[in-house]
Amino acid sequence: MTFKRWFHVGLVVFAVGEIAGPHLFRADHAHFWFEDIPAWGSIYGLVSCLLIIIGSKLLGKLWLTRPENYYDS
């Protein structure tokens, strides 16, 4: 439970830091417009992670995975 609470606090700190950081300090120039979306890194991190897990599992189920002894038989 303690870990969970610390984890959530950490997430909030990261997201707030990402939003506030560039305003508090002199921020470097962004390469693309989407990097200026508030908390861009956090949003993209979550989306990427979910996409990778769900996409890969689907690919695995539909096509790529075989039983462990597939190459032995």
């Binding site: 989407f34 990097e35 979550l46 992670c49 990778i52 790529l64």
Partner: protein, 587 residues
């Protein structure tokens, strides 16, 4: 210009043969001193050209020493040293000789100034690496080792063919920038050979096939040399080749996708080699100074943290004999030091600020940004999330935490921990003081990794990746499965062809023969019978009729042939009269 020079690669290759003749402490001392001497030699080496030999009217350059070659040589020699420390407890001379030869060949390839010496060391690398796999001496390892040889023979032949074509076309064997020859057969063949060694899909399935089958210590060497010497060769010869930008980015994501499905700890890490090499290949393709510096720096950092990760997984394999995540869990209590050192590698590969990956990977990603390639930038950032997901979260979670399976384990031998410690120190030093590495890169570095935006966005990305991980933790439970990759073609391709021949092809053949029977019996034979009838009744009867008619006409004509001159004259006169009459009346 040739000066006094001892090739550091040759030092390792020749020096390795001292080992079988030593015992105990002496042997261990030699195991450390050889790579240490090679490292010192690389560090003190000045740029220039050394070891030039004339062969077949060509200059064979064993020592083309410039900034690019030097930075790769430092890390190759350093990881050889770390790998030997990690292997100190292993009592198998064959492994040590193969490992040192492998490291020496990689150094040889890096310093090769011409294609002939490059080819020589390229092949020596393939051979010694295959021996390292075979030396696990289990049926699965032997099979994987032979498949490794098979793929690398293909790559070697492509390289040789490319070299011969390049030689015949240009008359030179010098190994340098090949972009002026883009599109030629030589260019393509050499590129394919380099891509095979860099494990670029679909040519890279040999890597996750072979590396997890090697011994715990052998795998540490394998992770370092083959792919990264290929990255070096690509930087040297193919910088700015557009196709590599997309291929590299796709490769970074490909490795991550396969890592989700993987249950074998070292195979999961092997797929992450492919993913990380993807960043380097992408950097080579981008071709700007920042991108090439990034590819070089990332190769340097990658060799160290990947060796550390493989050492961690190898330590678990060594003490528990387990390799599948589905069999592991709860090891953190018994192996806290291994866990801590492993996590340094995991933070380094995940590009956590103050660890090495943060200051190197971001150079390539920023280079994509500076080139205004949004899709590439997004793909590489997505793969970053995937990297942390697997090496930073999934693997340590299932290996060291997760369900406690009551496994009996202990920390590995001290030398293994020392080696991991050395690699961990290197990861942190590069991460905290990046100038140590930046000052060695081939081009001048203006890049500043620690900016507010970069640090906060990276922390956000990693933190929320962790959130995604915990949200979908149940989905990630390792399953006892294998994933299909392009090695299927040479592992099951033969059986598939046989099955096809016996199944679908045989059925097709049966159908064709049945169809032919029907056509033959019902149609062709029927038509044949008809034709025979027509022949008998029609043609034969007609011929008989013509024969008879001819006979009759002949008989009638015989009557006219009496032999009397008067009759012939009469007939002729009648004929002439008829002719005259025809002429007169006809006109």
């Amino acid at each position: 210009m040739t000066r006094e020079w001892i090739h550091p690669g040759l030092l390792l290759i020749a020096g390795a043969w001292i080992l079988p003749f030593c015992k105990g402490r002496t042997k261990r001392a030699v195991m450390i001193l050889l790579p240490a001497a090679a490292l010192v030699e690389c560090v003190v080496m000045q740029p220039g050209t050394y070891g030039v030999v004339r062969l077949l009217g060509q200059e064979v350059i064993f020592g083309r020493v410039d900034r690019l070659a030097l930075v790769f040589s430092y890390v190759f020699a350093l990881v050889a040293l770390i790998g030997m420390v990690y292997s100190l407890h292993v009592n198998d001379d064959a492994q040590h000789v193969a490992a040192l030869t492998y490291a020496g060949a990689a150094l040889g390839a890096v310093f090769a100034g011409d294609f002939l010496s490059l080819f020589l060391f390229w092949e020596l690398m393939a051979l010694s690496a295959a021996i390292l796999v075979l030396l696990r001496r289990r049926p699965a390892a032997v099979a994987a080792g032979f498949r490794y040889v098979l793929v690398h023979i293909f790559g070697g032949l492509c390289l040789l063919a490319g070299i011969v074509l390049h030689w015949s076309h240009t008359g030179s064997l010098r190994f340098g920038d090949l972009s002026p020859y883009a599109g030629s057969a030589a260019f393509t063949l050499i590129l394919i050979a380099f891509l095979v060694n860099a494990a670029v899909p679909p040519l890279g399935a040999w890597l996750p096939d072979a590396y997890p089958e090697a011994t715990a210590t052998g795998a540490v060497f394998l992770t370092a040399f083959t792919t990264k010497s290929a990255v070096y060769a690509l930087i040297r010869g193919f910088a700015g080749t557009e196709i590599l930008v997309w291929w590299g980015a796709a490769m970074a994501v490909y490795g991550v996708v396969y890592a989700v499905l993987e249950n074998d700890a070292r195979r999961l890490l092997a797929y992450h080699i492919i993913s990380q090499v993807g960043y380097m290949i992408c950097g080579v393709g981008l071709g700007t100074e920042l991108a090439l510096n990034g590819a070089t720096a990332h190769a340097f950092a990658h060799i160290l943290y990947k060796a550390l990760l493989f050492m961690g997984a190898g330590a678990v394999l060594q003490v528990t004999g387990l390799r599948k995540l589905s069999d592991m869990g709860g090891l953190y209590k018994m192996m806290p030091r291994t866990l801590s050192l492993y996590m340094v590698g995991a933070f380094a590969i995940s590009a956590v600020p103050l660890f090495s990956g943060f200051v190197t990977k971001s150079m390539v990603v920023s280079a994509a940004g500076e080139s205004h390639r949004a899709a590439i930038y997004l793909l590489l950032t997505l793969a970053s999330s995937g990297t942390f997901l697997h090496t930073g979260l999934k693997l340590p979670y299932y290996m060291f935490f997760g369900r406690d399976r009551g496994l009996r384990a202990e920390e590995p031998p001290r030398n293994m921990l020392v080696a991991m410690g050395l690699a961990a120190v290197a990861c942190v030093v590069i991460g905290v003081v990046p100038v140590v590495l930046y000052s060695q890169l081939p081009y001048r570095v203006d890049y500043i990794p620690f900016t507010v935006r970069h640090v906060t966005a990276t922390l956000g990305l990693l933190g929320f990746t962790a959130l995604g991980f915990f949200l979908l933790l149940k989905q990630l439970d390792p399953e006892p499965v294998v994933s299909l990759d392009t090695d299927w073609f040479y592992r099951r391709g033969g059986t598939a062809v046989q099955n096809f021949a016996q199944g679908a092809l045989a059925r097709l053949e049966g159908s064709v023969s049945r169809l032919s029977d029907v056509v033959m019996q019902r149609f062709v034979l029927g038509v044949g019978a008809q034709l025979r009838d027509i022949d008998l009744r029609g043609v034969d009867a007609m011929m008989v009729g013509i024969g008879r008619l001819t006979e009759e006409v002949s008989c009638d004509l015989t009557l006219a042939m009496s032999g009397h001159v008067q009759r012939y004259a009469l007939i002729m006169a009648a004929g002439i009269l008829a002719g005259v009459a025809l002429a007169v009346f006809g006109l």
